[in-house]
């Protein structure tokens, strides 16, 4: 819990960086609501 508690999150991941599901896993217990998560490829 911290400054993200109660916030709504849009997560945009990247294949060669941090993918969406990995961010979701990290933020699972943050108290924030993940309203959108996706991974994109820019190459």
């Amino acid at each position: 819990m911290g400054k993200l508690a109660g916030k709504k999150l849009l997560l945009l991941g990247e294949r060669d960086g941090v993918p969406g599901p990995a961010m979701e896993a990290c933020l699972k217990d943050s108290g924030a609501e993940i309203i959108f998560s996706a991974t994109e490829c820019f190459v």
Binding site: D16, P19, G20, C41, F42
Partner: protein, 515 residues
């Protein structure tokens, strides 16, 4: 240890700025939406000429015009440091950079269904130019001027305006068209067929170079595995294939057959593993792994290049080919006991992915990070990706590998930057999806091995499976290439693991009898 020999390799580029500025995914979307007229109008001012493309260091590195070591030592940005004329030639050690008009002729030559029409004087002119290319066969040159594939500009105009064809351009003017393959089938539109025929034609060019580079007669090629990202089919099976056999046919490989392997950008690495297993087991005498390139990827990042006043560099359709033979002890070898696999259960965290593709296969083979002289992950040219906000992809990958090496205590933290510099690779490939996926380093890496400068390198490809909306997963695969062993490999050799398994089986039998 099962292994296979890497006999030869070929890398080609087809310059396609006009085709790309109409049918590259980003420009095409902007043109059809009608919402980005400013970008559409500005793009032509940012295109590079064929001569500029020839003088651009990453392109020459790709086709083997300069060595990888020389490339690493060059001043950047490469756009501001063009190569001298003597190093900016059409033909390199691995392949060529073909001009766009000849590429259109080659696409027409690869058409079996009267789908590509060229204006007669244009067809005649490009056939004469292609005849001077020492890698293009006489049969291909003749196909460019087949009467059924030549039509005057009025007929071409009618085909485009009345029957959903697509214009092909040269010097700002229509010189031909790709026709629709079916009145209603969405898999056979002129746009899809242009992409597929360009993929086929660029694959043919790479295979022709491979045959010359290796000295293998076209008739002696046994099998082709194609690994691009295109899907050829009709409405009943929209990616049924088969590019491999179609490419082999045009290249005159009458005794070959083939099949396609797909996996987004991980396709080529998986195709290499597939081919190596078949050759090492004796199932095939030899295999050419081949991939043509992608029209939709042309100018993918050009919105940002235009916005920032930069040259739009994504103007080449890329292709590659690798020939594998049984390991006779004289060629660089691909090992089949050190294969990285990004499993379903590994998850998507960067550390887990990197571990699955590097640490785990190396550990299983008794190797460590420092034993690998070079890691070749996704090799996109960062002068293309950085202005578009996608970063320096090969650098990001080697940083992750170095961090993992530190975590696993294979490298001291203080030596991390040294490891990145010495064991990483600088990207020089076009953003052609599957083309940059580690495989561009097979040629330069094998050259370095043959010169005795390195002993071992790892090729890593990653695929964005989630783009197909079937799964949220990405994929990845990797393999090692090493110096020749000096003695032929035997696929039936008994390994230490085999001996362990036999001993355990025998002990288990004895234990059973004691009970």
């Amino acid at each position: 240890m099962a292994s296979v020999g890497i006999k030869s390799y070929a890398y080609c580029l087809n310059h396609a700025p006009e085709t790309g500025s109409y049918y590259g995914g980003t420009p095409h979307e902007a043109r059809t939406s009608g919402k980005e007229q400013e970008y559409v109008d500005a793009l032509p001012k940012h295109l590079q000429t064929y001569d500029q493309a020839l003088h651009y260091a990453p392109n020459q590195t790709y086709i083997g015009g300069i060595s990888y070591e020389e490339f690493e030592s060059l001043a950047t940005p490469w756009t501001d440091n063009p190569l001298p004329d003597e190093k900016a030639q059409r033909y390199g050690k691995f392949g060529e950079l073909m001009p766009e008009d000849e590429f259109l002729g080659l696409i027409s030559a690869c058409d079996e269904f009267e789908l590509v029409w060229l204006e007669p004087s244009f067809a005649q002119a490009v056939s004469e130019k292609l005849a001077k290319d020492p890698f293009i066969t006489e049969a291909i040159v003749k196909r460019v001027v087949r009467p059924k594939n030549m039509h005057d500009i009025a007929e071409i105009k009618a085909e485009v305006e009345e029957r959903d064809g697509l214009y092909l351009y040269h010097d700002g003017k229509p010189v031909g068209c790709v026709r629709s393959g079916h009145p209603t089938d969405p898999c056979l539109t002129s746009h899809v067929l242009l992409e597929n025929l360009a993929g086929k034609a660029s694959g043919v060019l790479a295979l022709l170079h491979l045959l010359k580079n290796s000295g293998l007669d076209a008739k002696d090629l046994d099998f082709v595995i194609e690994c691009s990202e295109e899907g050829a089919g009709d409405v009943g099976q929209r990616a049924g294939g088969n590019f491999a056999k179609a490419i082999a046919e045009v290249a005159g490989c009458v005794n070959a057959s083939g099949c396609d392997v797909r996996g987004f950008c991980a396709g080529p690495v998986n195709a290499m593993i597939n081919a190596a297993a078949q050759v090492a087991s004796g199932a095939r005498k030899n295999i050419a792994v081949v991939a043509g390139g992608s029209i939709p990827k042309l100018y993918m990042n050009s919105r940002d290049h235009v916005k920032k006043g930069l040259r739009a560099l994504e103007d080449c359709v890329g292709s590659f080919a690798v020939l594998m033979l049984p390991d006779d002890g004289t060629m660089p070898v691909m090992r089949l006991d050190v294969l990285g696999k990004h499993t379903v259960g590994a998850g998507g965290a960067p550390q887990a992915v990197t571990s699955a593709l590097t640490f785990e296969p190396l550990q299983a083979a008794g190797l460590t990070f420092a034993d690998v002289d070079r890691f070749a992950p996704e090799l996109q040219n960062h002068e293309i990706t950085e202005p578009a906000g996608a970063g320096n992809v090969p650098l990001a990958n080697i940083k992750m590998i170095a961090a993992l090496a530190v975590m696993k205590k294979a490298v001291e933290k203080a030596d991390m930057m040294k490891f990145i510099k010495e064991h990483g690779t600088v990207g020089f490939a076009h953003t052609q999806g599957h083309i940059p996926a580690g495989v561009p380093f097979i040629g330069p890496g094998c050259e370095l091995i043959n010169e005795g400068k390195i002993k071992r390198f790892m090729v890593i490809g990653k695929g964005s499976l989630f783009l197909a909306r079937l799964t949220n997963l990405a994929d990845g695969a990797s393999f090692l290439i090493e110096a020749p062993t000096g003695k032929p490999a035997s696929s039936s050799a008994v390994t230490k693991d085999d001996v362990k398994a036999l001993i355990l089986e025998a002990l288990s039998e004895v234990a059973g009898k004691l009970n």
